[in-house]
Symmetry: C2
């Protein structure tokens, strides 16, 4: 009986490998690149620098936009384990510690995601002209959100992550120029003028999840 069970399991695994059905995957633990986030209100933020460390649960995002109509500068070091982020201004040499409550959510396809499609961006007719990606869908009951995620078939690199949150709307994150690894680990160490930074009090009722912390 046990032998039969083992045989069945082995065959299923073998068939899974043979049919090469895409499996949910986890992005590499260290990434850096660019991140474009479109918020429900239509507000778009381009983080020219995005650093991701899934091991120590740290993210740093830097946005610097300057044009005739608006001037955006964001430099945030999010420490998920410590449950606060540093708001850094090199220009003023000032630093604020802001509490936030979001749990660290690694860049990955949830294990219960539904494989929607495999497709090619560009063309596989010649080398370097196309990229094979998978699209996955699913929902997260706790935050009442549906998601649609597109990751590369090889390497599990994120391309686009869309969250459709009840009452809030769509949040679309697009990743570009992703490099595997962190070139300068110092990016996760707050600058020296942050050591004396005080933890600001969060206003009661203020939402401070991951995406709010980015805004």
């Amino acid at each position: 009986m046990r032998a039969l069970l083992l045989l069945t399991i082995s065959l299923s695994v073998l068939l899974g490998v043979l049919t090469q059905e895409p499996q949910p995957c986890k992005a590499p633990p260290y990434l850096e690149g660019k991140l474009l986030v479109v918020f429900p209100e239509g507000k778009t933020l381009v983080f020219e620098q995005f650093y991701y460390d899934a091991v120590e649960q740290r993210i740093r995002v830097i946005a610097h936009e300057q044009d005739s109509t608006h001037n955006v500068f964001v430099d945030r070091l999010l420490l998920f384990r410590e449950r606060f982020y540093y708001e850094i201004s090199y220009h003023n040499k000032s630093c604020t510690k802001v509490p936030f409550s979001a749990a660290f959510s690694p860049i990955e396809i949830p294990i219960d995601a539904h494989h929607k499609a495999q497709f090619v961006i560009g063309s596989l007719s010649a080398p370097a002209q196309g990229l094979l990606v998978n699209n996955w869908e699913g929902s997260i009951a706790e935050i009442k959100a549906n998601y649609s995620m597109t990751f590369t078939e090889f390497g599990c690199i994120p391309v686009t992550i869309l969250y459709s949150v009840e009452k809030t709307g769509h949040i679309v994150s697009s990743f570009f120029d992703i490099v595997i690894g962190i070139e300068n680990p110092d990016i996760f160490i707050p600058p020296s003028f942050c050591t004396s930074a005080k933890l600001v009090e969060r206003k009661p009722g203020e939402v401070a999840d991951f995406f709010r912390a980015l805004l």
Copy 2:
């Protein structure tokens, strides 16, 4: 003097090659794949089959969507030189010839486009994990439209073309699973039951440009 001019031109060409500044490019003349079009009203059409022939100026699009809420079936053979398209229904063995006035516009980056950015979708940290693309912007005075186009760096394969037309709104075309070439050239020959098709009269004032013809 002529020698100096020649030297200057040669040096400019050489520098252009050396700096490898991206140049506006033309997509291959024969393409097939999938096309997703988001119209200004928010309506989205997925053409599972898209065939493009820039030499004889013919496009065939086939969409077949069936779910609980709607049932879309489109099969159109657009003959830009003849200035009409065939509306084909294999199910009913019926065919209509509909006049339309759009000029054929090849899939290409206009020569006066402004290079906005070069970026990587995914990652170039390992083979098959990323795709190098260029984004171009510009405007077309005749149709009072701005555009934003993303094509692959190698092969000039279209990825996304956005037209922002005054008064109408955004039209976003995304290309997937593109193959260079046409596997079956018969796709541009109307089925036999189309030979007796009559040219329907266009209602006065009815707009019949390329994108309207797709709707």
